[in-house]
Amino acid sequence: MALDKSYLEYSHRSHGMDHDRYDWSMLTDRPKITWPDGKKLALWVNVPLQFFPLDQKGEPFKIQGGMTMPYPDLRHFSLRDYGNRVGIFRFLKAFDKYGVTPTFAMNTQLAKRNPYLLNTITERGNEVMCHGMHMDALHYGGQDKQLETQLVQDSVNQLRELTEQNITGWLSPGRNESENTPELLAANGIEYFCDWVNDDMPYRFKTNKGNLWAMPLSNELDDAFIMLNNLHSEDSYAEQMIDACDFLLKEANHSGGRILSLNIHPWMLGQPHRIGALEQVLEYVMSQDVYSASASDILQAFTSQTTT
């Protein structure tokens, strides 16, 4: 019994990362950032607006939050659709009540299917980023490059037409990528994307079609990760967000501005028994020394102070 000798060869064992996508850099070695008006903490509330097709193919895997029952899985289809009909309107009220500026990550297919919701979002003037075509149109390793090229083009361009916005941000469905996704995003005018979770601040991500910014959208603080994956209670969710807010504010005192990113799903926190937890979090965070802004504005404030 033995493994192939390549299993004990380490071709990337040298300084820095084991790939050339971004440079190795510790957060503490970077310049200190100050948010507009001297604020210490930027609040990025990111709302995925999603369409989960009933006829889910699940290639190459079934996405979390997607269909799990034999076709037709009316239960999960309609539970997710609930977010776009009901939950989102609870969100919008809460944002307005506490003065929060949200960013919406929208599936292009949803924007096509649901003009009322699209109008509601675009009339508010909030930033919309592209969240891919829909929740069963995954980007994944080994995917046919031509198909993915078309998928990115269609998703971004159609959303630009529908929203009449520039669309510079991207969040992959399931936060999954192929080895070509970053190049395809850069080639389609995307400036920042939110799939990688290795930092608490923006950083440069290299592609051979121009560099992107990786924006730090925490998955550990994601409402579905906490309540659907980890099965924590609504009360615990609120505690975790408040503890995170306190910690980042404290760290910002000596390390420069930080970002609290809340990725929240209307089908999750928009439920009647959960919306109170979101309101509690927003009330608490907005009472602190906080800069509430869109992902683009946060990135703009960041890049205006750094060249890294």
């Binding site: 493994l3 299993y7 064992r13 040298s14 790939h19 390793g141 192929s178 290795n198 505690e239």
Partner: protein, 323 residues
């Protein structure tokens, strides 16, 4: 395959010889940060997949990278604040990838022990020679970069062979004589150190490294809330502290910079460290310091006690230790 690995004999948790730690302290406390490097595109192992998705596994890879980019410094600052020196379970390739982290830990006189080369290279399927080479490489790397003679082992990603502990003990002797390869964190059978049989029969000990208190097990496998984790740590401490009146105990918190150092988890972790270190009768130590003290003062006594108790029970009680 064996029905029992044969590393240790049964030894009930009562009426054992009494342990006291340096300074007469009744309890030893150590924190073991795992500082790991996971590869984005590792070679395939026949028994275990490194990532659930086809390359690139953006999510799994990047949250682990978060530990090195963001989390390490946070946890280190916290351990500094409470006067705790970490005992690092190290993916030793990190000496090459991120020597800046190694340097910071070196400056603080933290301990480095081997956690393999990469946490995406599993022991499964290796020949004896391959596993020996991998272990030797990892121990030599620690020595070259830190000057430390690696004393402890935690197999990469807890992937073992039947020979893992034997090989680690032997390579330790080969490289560093009695100072190398003296303790393992791979076994979870006890709350006190226990002598371990290896085929070289060298003095070798298992040091409790609690899987239950391990943040990744707590947060990822058991999916517990951050504040509950903080409470568990305190309860774990309270009980071991009370029991230490009878004989010295050990508490270990194994951590990961990509878990406990996330913003929503730091507060509860800090509260637990503050609580634990506010007690007087605690020796805050490293894994090697605990192993050294035990081997010098209690190892022989323990072996004798185990042998006597098992001899009194007749032949059925001793078969497991025979190798």
């Amino acid at each position: 395959m064996k029905s029992d690995p044969g590393f240790y004999d049964y030894w009930p948790y009562e009426n054992r010889p009494k342990i006291r730690w340096p300074g007469g302290k009744k309890m030893a406390f150590w924190v073991a940060p795992n500082i790991e490097f996971y590869e984005l595109n590792p070679p395939a192992n026949p028994s275990r997949k490194a990532w659930p998705q086809p390359y690139p596994a953006t999510q799994g890879y990047s949250i682990r990278d978060y530990g090195n980019r963001v989390g390490h410094q946070r946890q280190m600052d916290l351990l500094d604040k409470y006067g705790i020196r970490g005992s690092i379970s190290l993916s030793t390739a990190l000496c090459d990838h991120h020597p800046e982290i190694i340097q910071m830990c070196k400056e603080r006189n933290w301990e480095f022990f081997s956690h393999g080369i990469y946490n995406t290279r599993y022991t499964y399927g290796m020949s004896e020679q391959q596993e020996r080479d991998m272990i030797k490489d990892s121990m030599e790397t620690i020595y070259q970069h830190t000057g430390q003679k690696c004393a402890g082992y935690l197999a990469p990603a807890l992937s073992h062979s039947e020979l893992t502990l034997d090989l680690f003990a032997e390579v330790g002797t080969e490289l560093f004589g009695n100072e190398g390869g003296i303790y393992t964190c791979d076994l979870f059978h006890d709350d006190q150190p226990t002598p371990i049989h290896t085929r070289s029969n060298k003095p070798f000990v298992s040091i409790p490294y609690s899987l239950e208190m391990n943040d990744t097990i707590a947060f990822v496998v058991n999916k517990i809330e951050p504040r509950r984790y903080g409470n568990m740590l305190k309860k774990n401490f309270d009980r071991l502290y009370a029991e230490a009146d009878e004989s010295g105990t050990i508490m270990c918190i194994p951590t990961h910079n990509y878990q406990v150092s996330c913003p929503h988890r730091m507060k509860a972790f800090e509260e637990a460290l503050d609580y634990i270190t506010s007690h007087d009768d605690v020796w805050v130590a490293t894994g090697k310091e605990i192993a050294d003290h035990y081997l010098e003062h209690y190892y022989e006594q323990a072996k004798t006690d185990i042998a006597q108790k098992n001899a009194a029970l007749g032949p059925a009680a001793t078969h497991k230790g025979a190798k």
